[in-house]
Symmetry: C2
Subunit: 179 residues, 2 copies
């Protein structure tokens, strides 16, 4: 279950994905509460634009889910539930270059700083999700643009930053964690 | 080692704490790179105001370390290195009410959503750091105000949100992790 309280004071509860909140009579979403499960919110309709991971808890304002970005769109227009695997089984391979080339690392834990663990740069060229769902972040400490990667989307293959989401404009990824 | 590149183009390297960047000839910090260790940055001089955890990596803009806040101060005036324990030994007790009263949980792992793990509210009343250093966040998913808590500060006892930092104005804590 998923509650939304837009600025007009209207409150709606959702238990499945929503492709466009405007078709549900909501103009915008200014606060929300996740009552169960893990969800992904999107800036634009049809699951496009910036991605926001939404875990159980209270989000009283737009900043609560957006993380930090250079541009503040203040839009959350579509969202969907996320299938989360057992964290013990989550696995992702990160590659230095696009198309699964260059140096490769297999990761099965949370990494608040990839450079701190020895990854040679602040970029990742491509990623292959072998199990579970992951969220990758542009900056260390789980900050900046968020990219949600799942084993059952794209066949788990994200061979270029263009595959990470329509908002991705750079290979920069410095932290990642299981969801 | 710690590099700072302010807007003027000046670049300085630090390997120990700095109480006021202005005394080092820097007007403001607009980007930085952590080359080793984990640091804490502060909005104001003398380690006051908003706290920013800084792990190894590149921070090309203020948003990269700030996380999301209702007010964007764009100030980083002091910083210090952080003593990190072995994550396997990190331990913190979180209490429902201030002064270590109410229900209590012992935590030794990262929690992107305390409510998802069964914590009954979006607030924590007090915390006791038994081992290591921790960063707590206002919102789920490691977002919003950051509070750095250490076993060797305040004797590890944080009995009210006023002890978490001079910028804390609420008991709201919905995620936390080891650093």
């Amino acid at each position: 279950v998923f509650c939304l309280c837009p600025v007009c004071g209207k409150r709606m509860e959702f238990s499945s994905s929503c492709q466009n909140i405007m078709e549900c009579g909501l103009d915008n979403i200014r606060s929300l509460k996740v009552e169960s499960g893990t969800w992904v919110g999107y800036e634009h309709s049809s699951f496009c634009g910036q991605q926001f991971i939404l875990e159980k808890g209270n989000y009283p304002c737009w900043e609560a889910w957006s993380g930090s970005h250079a541009y503040h769109v203040e839009r959350l227009t579509s969202f969907r539930p996320l299938c989360c695997a057992d964290h013990k089984e989550s696995k992702i391979a990160v590659c230095e270059k696009e198309n699964f080339t260059g140096r490769q690392w297999e990761i099965s834990d949370d990494y608040p700083s990839l450079p701190a663990m020895g990854w040679p740069s602040s970029e990742i060229g491509s990623m292959k999700v072998q199990s579970g769902a992951w969220v990758c972040y542009q900056y260390p400490g789980y900050r900046g643009h968020q990219y949600i990667l799942e084993c059952d989307r794209h066949g788990g293959n994200y061979k270029h930053y263009r595959d990470w989401g329509s908002h991705a404009q750079t290979f920069q990824v410095q932290s990642l964690r299981r969801v």
